[in-house]
């Protein structure tokens, strides 16, 4: 309801350039990746951040997301995926240009379970636009995604996602809020990555040849995972890894709220909301924090300075010895 009111207000009043910039990363992500050596340095530059804050009102205390020079799509093109069964992967913009490692780990774990991964044609899911009250923008993205995803499932393949925000958007908001034709059919065959692995385990098909991983980690369930109504499948799967000490972080919201926490006027409240989470992490004192959402990962890095990964990266490490160790941040 809040979003609908916001959309109406902005339709009448017009949208600030900042909203455009925060919600259209799918357009400039590729360019960002290409110019990443220059951009990443600029993003850390105090002057640039000061300009971003004064002109765009993007808070300078925030670390801007760093681009990677090789996108996930580029990596995947030169990666021959093999397996007995096929599974489609909706990776999302952030994995493509900013956290390629998560995409690689997802592909590697699925392959280790006998699946050939393929990437159906896809665009940004549209959640940043929806969050900023741009229903038409979000609809445009949905109308591009749904036909491609429909074709995938009608060819007999399930689709998994590793970003709970993209996943929740496509699975629940496409139909309920945006009324996209065909989205209900897509939702039936769209699964969270760990939900999918949990199903494999239920049928006795999960590869559990894990090596010991003597690490103390803490897991945080993002809001969009909780609203998927599937429990905490990542926690269930990671508990199978020998040696891994894993605690569930008892806290509500990380406070970033997608693009919300980047806005200058929202920085303080975003930090205030995240305080409970930070305190809960401090109490557990883990070596690494794990969470399925890229927004939460950015915010937890910002709040704690700890290493924060997607749970699939730990699963990959437990499953595959020494291959492609994830990049130190």
């Amino acid at each position: 309801m809040n979003l609908i009111a916001k959309a109406k207000y902005l339709d009448e009043k017009g949208r600030p350039f900042r909203d455009w910039l925060l919600t259209h990363s799918y357009l400039y992500g590729q360019i960002g990746a290409f110019f990443s050596p220059i951009l990443n340095r600029l993003f850390k530059n105090a002057v640039v951040k000061w300009i971003a804050e004064s002109i765009l009102r993007i808070d300078r205390r925030r670390e801007l997301p760093v681009y990677q020079s090789e996108t996930f799509r580029q990596w995947f093109r030169s990666h021959p995926s093999k397996g007995q069964r096929k599974i489609a992967y909706f990776y999302g913009c952030y994995i493509n240009t900013n956290e390629v490692e998560v995409g690689k780990a997802t592909v590697q774990v699925l392959e280790a379970n006998g699946f050939e991964v393929f990437l159906p044609p896809q665009e940004c899911c549209g959640i940043p636009m929806l969050g900023n009250g741009d229903f038409n923008g979000a609809k445009k993205m949905a109308l591009k995604n749904v036909p491609s995803l429909l074709q995938t499932i009608r060819s007999g393949y399930d689709i998994i996602f590793s970003s709970t925000s993209c996943g929740h958007m496509i699975k629940h908001e496409y139909s309920r809020l945006l009324n996209i034709p065909g989205s209900e059919e897509v939702a039936e065959h769209l699964l969270d990555l760990f939900e999918f692995l949990r199903n494999l385990r239920e049928n006795g098909n999960l590869n559990t040849h894990f090596k010991e991983l003597p690490l103390k980690v803490a897991y945080f369930a993002p809001c969009h995972l909780r609203s998927l109504g599937i429990g905490l499948p990542a926690l269930e799967i990671l508990r199978l890894i020998p040696g891994l000490q894993i605690d569930n972080i008892e806290a509500d919201c990380c406070g970033l709220g997608g693009t919300f926490g980047f806005k200058k006027e929202k920085y303080e409240i975003s930090q205030e909301i995240g305080k409970d989470l930070k305190e809960a992490i401090d109490r557990l004192n883990p070596e690494i924090v794990l969470t399925d959402c890229e927004g939460c990962r950015m915010q937890i890095r910002h709040l704690t300075g700890l290493k924060v990964l997607h749970p699939i990266q730990i699963l990959r490490d437990a499953l595959l010895q020494g291959i492609d160790k994830e990049v130190e941040r």
Partner: protein
Amino acid sequence: MHYDLIIIGMGLSGLMAAKTAVEAGKKALIIGKGMGCLTLFSNTIDVFGKITETTRLRDDLSRWIYDHPEHPYGKVGVEKIEEALCSFNTFFRPPYTFQSRNETNSLIPTGIGTFRPTYLIPSTMMRGIALKEKKTLVIGFKGYKDFYSQRLADSFECRGTTLSLPESPSTEITATALARWMEQPSFREFIGTEVKKQIRDEELIGFPAVLGVNDPMGVRKDLEKKTGVSVFEIPVLPPSIPGMRIFNRFKERLIQRGVTFLMGYSVSKATLKDKRCEGIEILHPPVTTSYSADHYVLATGRFMGGGLKADREKISDPVFNLPVSQPGSQEKWFEKSFFDEHPIHRTGILTDSSLHPIDEKGELILENVRVAGTILSGHHFLEEKSREGIEIATGYWAAKQALN
């Protein structure tokens, strides 16, 4: 997904059933529409407040049960009730625990100015028992409308004072907001200083039960250090912060042990065949997910929790559509005076001695479903002061029997 046990309802009885299942090494799923009524009403653990004798509650209850075999307690039996209470207690380690005083009911002061008999009392409230003997100062907060210290002071024949809070964002303050502030050292610093100014010769300070959600004993200790006087909590009107503490502790421990929690969802359909529940569905638009289990526990509570629904003619259970014993048509549900005993309080699901649902003729309806908590018929927890006891005992016993 298939489970050993699916529990429908996230109140105290559902949580106890989940605890019992996971401790028996079983795979359990608990589904709840919300946080459960635990966070509304429960402050202490009532077992049978109606008995106010000073002998051991166990003995009195044992005698009472003998004459009331149809009461949920009659079906569980005193021994299992005690076992269940012990099991509940294992989730609470010192310093915040639930204890009885001399295994009898004790009278503790409440936020509406009465003394109420109850059995297991959280550590933060224990000292309230001494209110009658010791000089006490009751503290209220301006804007916190569910707790009038002056009015309480009149009832308890002690002194009361109301503190004004700095930088309070609105004129109305909730228990939840107060509990969060209490966890901040700077807020306690302020409260400590203000209270100290008010103390004359009192030996006890009574606060509403808002001394933080996570570490109430830590908050209390700090306030005692700052004021130099013993502090206790007084249970208040809903919502209940002590109830939230119980809920949070169960949720944390149960997830840690591998129980799957689905909070915010309700069962949209149950498939029943040949006296068995074969599965349930949860509709989360546009997706419907199916779950199945060997056994089910229905612990959805009464009208407030959504376990019982009433229309003009009939009271029903929306999950399994089990028959609900009811006192005739609507005109027979209520008495004229608010304080009279209303027959509607006695409605509920009929069960056999092992908590299986049965119909009026005593025929078994579903052999792999058991019913627990206040949705059961044959009790009047308001009058008996037995809410938490019934929830703990039947939740425990339902799961125990299902998994044997």
